[in-house]
């Protein structure tokens, strides 16, 4: 779960990481008012959960209150990568003498948290990572012990930080580490962490991504989720523990397990069809959950056939059959539904589907073939 910049900054502030003065605004009038409070030189920053805001024109520097109002009007009326801007952050403008990159993230390779820092912070950090990776220093952290003091010094030295900043820099890293651990973050990032003209360290931007799996122990953070920026069908799916991602094809897929769901999409594509979605009903799916998954797929008008591919492990085939039949009764789809069930309680499951208008298939290959033929029929 990604947090907005303003939400991330409020966490920073709570942990003692210095941030610019500023507030969130949802109208131009409000933005102007905040600009007046801050002295008229402000940065107006769109709050959307996608990268590249600056390059899309979603971040503007205003030199007067009037400009602040105008830019806020402009930005609040725009879309960044298809997402309408609903809020802007109005921060006091800061004069920058140096930009530092700093982050802590989960690292798959070492299976440990990794701290990354660079004296070449700013918008081009990804290019730096590609072209001059030596400019980004990386240090893994023992998750049981945490950051050691010597590591803090080592990081400061490695990015050639002037000694007079070591203390405040170390405090910021320590605070970032505590924030990362306390919130079960997968990424905490400050880019840039700037040294101002008056020699202070301030986090000009803030990015926090939280681990969805850990939300059970962070109900306060879970409330920060911005569902306005998510596709309604994906939000609906989550309510039932269904992972749904819309794609552009015409064969709806209902599968249990992420790997099998991908393999199902892959074979549809291999045989010349196009999958309409990724959908994983997860483990231990109840009939209610399967029925909900069915409804979610059918909200897409492009879908010309549905392929249900379920292999029973934890999710038993009879449970799935019950879910399919329940959903069929509720929705009465006008498009063909192809079902393939195998595994735990397969025979019971398939028997329940006998005598209905469902098309059954024995193999994944033939199920995908039938689904593609059915969509071609529909296209005639």
């Amino acid at each position: 779960m990604r947090l907005h910049e303003y939400q991330s900054k409020s966490l920073f502030s709570k942990y003692g990481i210095p941030i610019p003065k500023g507030r969130i605004a949802s109208s131009a009038t409000e933005a102007k008012q905040i600009s007046e409070e801050l002295g008229g030189k402000v940065v107006i920053k769109s709050q959307v959960l996608v990268g590249g805001r600056g390059k899309a024109g979603g971040i503007r520097l205003a030199k007067t209150n009037k400009e602040a109002e105008d830019y806020a009007t402009e930005i609040l009326g725009m879309e960044v990568k298809g997402i309408p801007v609903r809020k802007v952050l109005v921060d006091e403008a800061v004069s920058i003498s140096k930009e530092i990159y700093l982050s802590i993230a989960n690292d798959r390779n070492s299976q440990k948290p990794i701290l990354m820092a660079s004296s070449a912070g700013g918008v081009d950090i990804e290019e730096t990572a590609l072209k001059t990776p030596d400019k980004i220093i990386k240090r893994t952290i023992d998750p049981l012990i945490g950051l050691r003091d010597y590591q803090l010094r080592d990081i400061a030295i490695s990015i050639d930080l002037d000694r007079k900043y070591w203390k405040s820099f170390s405090e910021i890293i320590s605070a970032l580490w505590r924030l990362y651990v306390d919130t079960d973050a997968t990424i905490v990032e400050i880019n840039p962490l700037v040294i101002t003209a008056d020699e202070k360290l301030i986090a000009l931007d803030a990015k926090v991504v939280l681990d969805d799996n850990a939300m059970f122990r962070h109900s306060d953070l879970a409330e920060m989720r911005d569902i306005d920026e998510e596709a309604p069908a994906e939000v609906e799916g989550r309510k039932f523990g269904v992972v749904f991602i819309k794609l552009d094809g015409n064969i709806g897929c209902l599968v249990n397990g992420a790997g099998l769901a991908m393999a199902t999409m892959d074979i549809i594509k291999l045989l010349g069809g196009t999958p309409a979605n990724f959908l994983d009903i997860g483990g231990g799916a109840s009939s209610e959950k399967v029925a909900a998954a069915f409804r979610i797929i059918l909200t897409d008008p492009n879908v010309k056939a549905i392929l249900i591919n379920v292999f029973g492990g934890i999710t038993r085939c009879d449970e799935v059959a019950k879910g399919i039949l329940g959903a069929m009764k509720l929705i009465k789809p006008k498009i063909p539904v192809i079902v393939r069930l195998v595994g735990t309680n397969r025979d019971e499951g398939m028997k329940m589907l006998e005598g209905t208008n469902l098309i059954t298939a024995d193999s994944l290959y033939s199920a995908a073939k039938i689904a593609i033929e059915q969509t071609r029929e529909a296209g005639k």
Partner: protein
């Protein structure tokens, strides 16, 4: 012959009184797995499954009373880390964690703890281990595999069953099937399991099932090139996945150009691994 799980496996089930724990304990018993105990805090002294399996309050008391040498975990995600620590501290040599949805930072701490211990962890978020005809630890349906000489290692769950089933349809048998799980931080990885198969005298060939995300398949390819003498067939799921989208597994995120299916396939092919384009193609590739 098999790796990790066999007829000498003496298994305890952590979380045996939960719905999933009980259902699968029964399935494992039907498969003739030697389940010696269950553990549920607060329910010690009771019995489940028609008096066949005694319940203990703690893993240590269960181990002391039964000499268990393996544990399978079905507890809810919020208790996963604690359940693994408890099994590790009781010096159980093999721990298999089925539970999905464990916080990643919990697993990083567990993983670090395991580095100083001898316990082998499989999972979490995995289907477990099946040595056909010998033992089953986890949730892989026992009726879809027959005994044989093919080793199978997979990051996926249900996709693994798909492959087992396809093998069975062609009368091809399996020595052991190991589902290592799809989480970004986990116990044994591809390389450790490949090492075990390479050393197992009755495994003749190996099937590797990977998916998008991370670089584990690429590292496995390096290992295969350097150390494997046995033939390997692979299937990598997610070639049709749009870049950068999360596909349900916390790990299945394409990071830049690394982690995508094409790169993994290319790397594996370059070291002589035969690549299947869909699961049901695997039997023909492994036979030839």
């Amino acid at each position: 012959m098999s790796i990790l799980a066999n007829q000498d496996t003496r298994l305890i089930v952590q979380g045996i009184t939960g719905n999933e724990g009980l259902f699968h304990a029964e399935q494992m018993l039907l498969y003739k797995t030697n389940i010696v105990a269950g553990v549920t805090p607060g329910k010690g002294g009771g019995w489940v499954l028609n008096g066949k399996v005694p319940i203990f309050d703690t893993v240590q008391t269960a181990v002391d009373a039964t000499g268990a040498n393996a544990s399978v975990i079905f507890v809810p995600a919020k208790y996963t880390a604690d359940a693994i620590y408890e099994a590790v501290d009781a010096d159980i040599p093999l721990v298999v964690c089925i539970t999905e949805g464990t916080p990643v930072q919990d697993m990083m701490r567990v993983k670090q703890y395991l580095r100083s211990r001898k316990t082998r962890l499989i999972g979490p978020n995995c289907p477990g281990i099946l040595s056909p005809g010998e033992s089953k630890i986890g949730i892989i349906p026992g009726n879809i595999a027959i005994q044989g000489n093919i080793g199978l290692v997979s990051r996926s769950g249900t996709l693994t069953y798909e492959v087992l089933y396809a093998l069975q349809q062609k009368k091809l048998g399996v020595s052991t099937c190991v589902g290592i799980g799809g989480d970004p931080v986990k116990g044994l990885g591809f390389i450790e399991v490949l090492e075990l198969f390479e050393a197992d005298p009755l495994t003749d060939s190996v099937i590797l099932i990977g998916e998008i995300g991370g670089n584990e398949e690429e590292y496995a390819a390096d290992y295969i090139a350097r150390k494997m003498t046995k033939p390997v067939v692979a299937f990598i799921a997610g070639i049709s996945a749009p870049p950068g989208r999360r596909m349900g597994h916390a790990g299945a995120i394409i990071e830049g150009t690394s982690g995508n299916a094409e790169n993994k396939i290319k790397k594996l092919e370059s070291v002589g691994v035969k690549i299947a384009h869909y699961p049901e193609q695997i039997p023909d590739l492994i036979r030839n």
